[in-house]
Every structure is written in C-alpha cells, then in structure tokens.
Symmetry: C2
Subunit: 348 residues, 2 copies
Amino acid sequence: MIEPPATDRFLRACRREPVDRTPVWFMRQAGRYLPEYRRARGDLDILETCRHPEVVVELTLQPLRRMPLDAAIVFSDIMVPLRAIGLPVRVAPGTGPVLEEPIRSEADVLRLRPLEPEADEPELLEAIRLLRGELSVPLIGFSGAPFTLASYLVEGSPSRDHARTKALLHGAPDVWAGLMERLATLCVAHLRAQVEAGAQAVQLFDSWVGALDPEDYERAVLPYSREVFRGIADLGVPAIHFGVGTGELLSLMARAGGDVIGVDWRVPLDVAWERVGSDRGVQGNLDPAVCLATWEAVREKALGVLRRAGGRPGHVFNLGHGVLPQTSPETLARLVDLVHEATERPSG
Amino acid sequence: MIEPPATDRFLRACRREPVDRTPVWFMRQAGRYLPEYRRARGDLDILETCRHPEVVVELTLQPLRRMPLDAAIVFSDIMVPLRAIGLPVRVAPGTGPVLEEPIRSEADVLRLRPLEPEADEPELLEAIRLLRGELSVPLIGFSGAPFTLASYLVEGSPSRDHARTKALLHGAPDVWAGLMERLATLCVAHLRAQVEAGAQAVQLFDSWVGALDPEDYERAVLPYSREVFRGIADLGVPAIHFGVGTGELLSLMARAGGDVIGVDWRVPLDVAWERVGSDRGVQGNLDPAVCLATWEAVREKALGVLRRAGGRPGHVFNLGHGVLPQTSPETLARLVDLVHEATERPSG
C-alpha cells in the first residue's frame, strides 16, 4: 500500500473525488492558541503584521510544524484589501475591525476605489509566492464576502445585531447595491491575485450572513456573492463558501456558488449536506468550544461528525468556526490524528 | 359587530383559538427606545430598579399608553431571581449580567440555594399584584430558562461563544446536571409565584440556547426545560418558549414544552411552524433591525410574516428578539395598527 501524497487529499475532497483519508484543516489554525504565534506576533497590529511577508510565512507555517494538517491558509485578515485601497481600518485587539468613518451614503460608497492587488497588497502576494516554495500541502487564499465586509464598513465596528447594515439594505437599496457591487469586484480582484500568486484553493468568508433571513439573503446578498464565484470560475481552483448560523441559508449559499459549503455546528452535517445538495462538498463542523472540554468529549463529537459525513467523497473536516484562543494545541493535534485514523481507507 | 375585549385576544391565540385580530406584543416593549423609560429609569442599576414596585408598574405600563398592545410583560430581568437568592450579580449597562465569581465547580453549584419567592423577591410579586389592578390586557410573567441562566453563571459575563459553558457541559456532566437541576427548580418557583400573584401567561427565555447543536440540546438542556414546563402545567396558564438562532432546535424545544414557541427571524414563520408542529402556536418573527429601516420596509416584512402565518389560529405577532434601543416608538405603534388592521376578521 503506497500512501498518496498528503498534498492531494484536500484538493481531491474539494472536487468530491475519493480520498485516502478525510482531509483536515482548521479556520484560524494560525492563531493565538499557539504560544509561538503570540511570540511572533507580539503587540503589532494585525494589519501591520500582514505587511511583513516573512512574518506571514512564519505564522502560516507554525501550525503545520505541530500537526499533519492537509492544507495551509495564508495568514491574513479580511480587512487587508480594504486597508489596501486606503480605508482607515484598524483591527482593535479583542474587539475587531473598526472604521472611524463608516460607509452609509452614496458619497461614502464612492470612497471605495478598485483594488489593484500588485500595487496595493504586494506583501500578501509575495508571502503567497514564498509559501508555495515551503509547503507540501495546498495553500488556501481567502477573502471576506461582500456582505460580511459591508457589515463592518456600515457598522464601523463589530456588531451583534447588524442593525445599521440591515437598515441600509432595507432603507436605501440603491446605496446598498452600489456598495455590494464594489465589494464584489474587490473580492474578485483580491482572490484572483492570490490564485495567480500561487493559492491552490480559496475560501469566501461570509461569516456574519447568518444574521439575515433567507428572503433578504436572496435579494440583497446572493447576487453579489455569485458574482464573486463567477469572477474566479475560470481559474479552476476549488472554492469554499463559509458562514456561521446559516442553517436556513445553505441551499441559497450553494446557489450563489462554491464547490464546498462550510457549515457551523448548529446543523448536523448530514442535514446540512442535504440542504446544500449532493453536487457540492461540505466543510465542517465540530463546535470549536468542544475543543475546550475533555479529550473524550472532543473524540465523541468528532466521530459524530465523521459518522454523519458517512464516508461520502466531498467532506473536508474542520471546526464550525475559528479555533478559540483558549484551545490547547495538543488537542488540535490529537484531533487531526483522530480524523485521519478514523477515516483511513484501503488504497490499491 | 361588537368587538370582543382586547384582553381576550392574546390568551386565545396562545390556546390556538380563533381571534378577531392577530395579537401583538413586543419583547422589551418596556425599554430604552422610549424616552419616558429613559427618564424613569435614570442611572439606576436595572436590578435595583426592579426592587421598586411602583417604578416597575410605571415602566410596564408605558408602552401600553402609546400603542394598543395585546399583552403587557412585567418589567424585570432574568437575573432577578439569582440576585434574590444572594448571588452578587450586577447588570453592567451596555454589557449585561456580570458575576464576579462564576459558577464552575460542584462547590459553586452548592452556593445556589432554593428561591423562596415571597421572601426573596416580594417587590416583583407586589408589582404584579398592582399591575393586575391597572391592566385591561393580560400580564405576562417570565423567567430565564435554565440553560440561558447557566450560561451567564458559568461565563461570568455575556459571551459570544459560550465556550466555558460548553466546556462544563461536556467536560463535567455531573456538575452541569447539578447546576441545571437547581436552576430548573428555581425557574419553577419563580414562575409559579408570578402566576399566583396574577400573571396570566408566562414566557421562558432560553435566549442563548441557539449556540448548541441539537444533540447537546437534547441531552443537556431539554430535560431541565421540560421540568420547568411540567412544574407549572397545573396552573393552567399559557406558556411561551423562546430562543434565538434555534432553527435546528425548534422541534426539540416544542418537545421540552410550551404552548407557543417563539422564533427569531432567521426561519420563515411557516417553516418554523412546520418544525414546531401544528399542535403548538408560534410567536414572532419580524427582525427587530428591520424596524430601523423605512416604514415601507417594515410594512412589507410584517405583511410577509402575516402571510406566512396564513391566518391560522395560534399566531402571536412579535419581533424575533427584543426591541432595539434605536427603534422609533412611532414605528412600533404603526406596526401594532398594521397587524391589527391586516388581520381583522369579521365577527358575528
């Protein structure tokens, strides 16, 4: 029995091809839960950190030195392209993205100029090029989705209820459309540049879209997310479409696009897959908070996810959201091994 | 045509009996969106406010003076019974409940003594007695549900990911069971006393239970919520069972109990009702953030909710969560009229 290179596993699963083991990676696998990450990051603002390619490379590689993950994700932040076009965004530690002058009018929308990746975010692209020389597993590039970016721009800071965003979406549909149109164009440029620099898959993070009802999603978000997926389709790399609290939106998200739909833990994986459709893969969906409990609990819940995936081609194991900072790296490493061992398939 | 007294409408709907108009009330209808509320509350801590029956009466009545709501809900806070048994809870403005010494061990759980409502929270009961003399619509009493109370007690402050709560639930099931058992007993005592003082319906707020997957809900929450509903069943008052982000939990919540299941806006009302079952009523489910948009948007979305309710007996119109502080009282008043007008049924 010759084991195929691990490098293959993640991309094959994204294409719903048979794999030797279910691939695993973790959202925020390069993150604060790693002591070496905290040391390397120091007190630097995350957007500042992202402008140092050698640091980005180091942070991206750190989790891979600890555990046999099946994919790397470039260390970056969804605000990077917005800062790159000159918006005075900063990411407040413990709070999240803050924009002193939020975008709420047509005039504000006009402040969003097109992204020219090679000129505006050369450090990200340089980091991706460097990483391709270092990695033996596929590299994932990513972007925030138009809605999630819009919600930060409109609120001006992280929001629980997304009230101003919804007020704009309902109260000024033209301004909303203009904003989403520009953001979709920006996402396409941002993702294309990452793929051209070497990213072998992409993930669109529509993290906060679960705040919407299906009707609003379909009308005010779906067309723009679809534009993003269409805008990168010719590149031929797998695309993952992720959101949190999206139980009622899964079939619409699949309609918007993505080879693989990421789901949080609220929807059992088999139920999610049914909503997404059998022509797509699914990514997920262990509750990240479970990783703070005992290993027995982690093991039981992870095996439950795998049972629901049922060994069907097209499952990428992941958490349902990012790794929590309190997580023990040892737990994650055991989890990677568990998923690999529990899903090992005989190969010829 | 003689209009039946409004007083009847809400209770009839809770029992799935025909009504002359769909009843309306709003979670947090007595709240910060009202200038008279802000004046009456001043800077007083909310738990302190709750200890002044005459203020509670005033705050409860305020929204009813502005709009023809079909029910009143006693002004209180889910932390009231916990403070009443001596826990040093305070509610930080803009943050929420804070407990300096969170409950995370068996010894901590033993600090939770039984609630003796007449001795521990006489002001609440006095306010309810006074209110019954003032009101021409039914009065709703309420309690936080065991899980939502537990999440505040375990986290020590409001939490986005409920990580410590889940770690306890998974990692120390015995401690968890002891905590939930005590909280269920406390909820029963708290609700029974309110009904005995005059509340004509109750709502159990399991606001944060949507953070759980269905499996965890069924194992670690459902038995205790069921205990609460069973513990008040003999009183014969309608019970509403509410949570946010509960799309995947609705049928389990119905199994736990409640004549009416409250749903947020993420699930279309007809879909929610299917999951809940036709032997229950449903309450909801306009997105509170929509109320910040134009009246046209509010109107369209509210009529959408009514369309999905389809005139079936058992719908109580409400928002999908509490009124946002930025809401205009005029918008809510128009919304009450809209619901009443749009659902008027000929009566003999």
